[in-house]
């Protein structure tokens, strides 16, 4: 393994590009302006860094943050039992679960539908800002934050899948019915957008800020 001194060599510093799909290293030849080099092994377009990473991630995060409002304000589900129905938002649904004594389930839904999306939005925004301002604060921890955000994001889909099952099962006419609400669509969009945001962020940018002779890593 190479050394971890302050002169550790990155692929970019060595003029090499790693294929994002098959991880093979290439030394790109000069290509005519506007054209892109392709990986000779798997055909994927070669990028030194994820293209427009900061711009894309910021745009996706902003859209997700905006949609998070209707996701929580509008009802995600309406339960009609014995003719009495009340629409539930994410928060009120959690409240009901707590009130019904299902503390474990309530905590799980609260965690997956509220804590995780908020933390994901906050942490990815923090990472984007830290890269923009070229901070050198704890790169290893920041990379850890990124990995956490990427890993945990899909679990927010929990609520959406639960709703789809409830809608499918509880179709007993006047006796009991469950319907999905607009809030669920908005929430699903938030989850998708944050997933895309995490995958468009390039964690290598965190480490690029540490390079003494800063490279221009625009693609």
């Amino acid at each position: 393994m190479s050394s971890t001194g302050s002169h550790a060599l990155t692929a970019a510093a060595a003029g090499l590009v790693s294929c994002h799909a098959c991880h093979k290293l290439w030394k790109p030849a000069r290509t005519p302006a506007g054209s892109r080099a392709s990986c000779g092994r798997c055909g994927a377009t070669l990028h030194r860094r994820k293209p427009n990473s900061i711009a894309r991630t910021s745009a996706l995060l902003t859209a997700a943050a905006i949609l998070y409002v209707p996701a929580n304000v509008y009802p995600v589900m309406t339960v009609t039992f014995m003719g009495k129905g009340e629409p539930d938002t994410i928060l009120s649904g959690v409240e009901h679960l707590f009130a019904a004594g299902s503390w474990a389930v309530a905590s799980l839904v609260f965690f997956a539908s509220i804590v995780v999306p908020v933390l994901k939005l906050a942490s990815l925004s923090f990472l984007v800002i830290s890269v923009q301002l070229r901070w050198t604060w704890r790169p290893k921890d920041r990379t850890g934050i990124y990995r956490m955000a990427e890993f945990v994001g899909r679990w927010s889909m929990l609520d959406i899948f639960m709703i789809s099952i409830l809608v499918a099962l509880v179709k007993l006419g006047a006796l009991a019915t469950i319907e999905a609400g607009v809030g669920a669509t908005a929430f699903a969009a938030v989850v998708i957008l944050t997933m895309f945001a995490a995958s468009s962020f390039d964690p290598r940018l965190i480490w690029d800020s540490l390079e003494q002779d800063s490279l221009e890593v625009a693609t």
Binding site: S2, R41, C42, L108, T143, F161, M162, L175, A176
Partner: protein
């Protein structure tokens, strides 16, 4: 540096999280190579990746078919019964006008796992028979791109939460499709662990 591209490629690898260059080394059985700077996993030692993954994927396919054919769950309240398949939720959401939600649930719980299984079959069966699948590169990249979208484990947890929510009110019966889906989830996760992408790329290069 007057090093040919092939020398570079076969000796070095770059960390995908921090771009640090590392020399590729032989790993002991079960070994994992991690980036010396940021701790990211660079590559792993996998035994018999092709056969093991293929076995898991073929069994996954069988369970996928079972999960689609048989009933998933039923809900009994005051003498009335409502049965559903894994498809029912999607259809109901769609007919209620929630197209985005329906498509998303369909994609994440049914289509992505299927595409992943079929994609891996398409890749691995020819390789096992010492042939090259047509357009291997594209199919391998598609299989990898699909990986975060196979959300069966989240789906099963969602089902579990739904069951808990309803169990106070009514009786829930679990069908064959439910158990098949659990098996499918376990097998596809195992296949992800046994699959060695580097092995597949190397076989491609050897064949050429």
């Amino acid at each position: 540096m007057a090093v040919s591209t092939n020398d570079i490629a076969n000796e070095l690898t770059a960390c995908h999280d921090c771009d640090l260059l590392h020399r590729v080394e032989e790993l002991p059985r079960g070994g994992v190579a991690k980036c010396s700077r940021c701790g990211a996993v660079l590559y792993r030692h996998r035994v018999n990746s092709l056969d093991r993954t293929l076995t898991l994927i073929i069994s996954s396919f069988v369970f996928y078919l079972l999960a689609n054919v048989y009933p998933f769950m039923s809900f009994r309240l005051e003498g009335r019964v409502q049965t559903c398949t894994i498809f029912t939720g999607v259809v109901d959401l769609w007919s209620a006008g929630m197209w985005f939600l329906a498509s998303l649930v369909f994609f994440a719980s049914m289509l992505a796992p299927l595409l992943k299984i079929l994609g891996l079959l398409y890749l691995l069966v020819p390789l096992r028979l010492d042939r090259l699948p047509w357009d291997l590169e594209l199919s391998h990249r598609i299989v990898h791109a699909l990986h975060p979208w196979g959300m069966l484990d989240v789906y099963m947890l969602g089902v579990l939460v739904a069951i808990i929510k309803l169990s106070g009110l009514a009786t829930i019966d679990l069908g064959i499709a439910f158990h098949s889906l659990v098996a499918l989830m376990v097998l596809t996760t195992a296949a992800t662990v046994t699959l060695d992408p580097q092995d597949i790329w190397e076989r491609l290069e050897v064949r050429r």
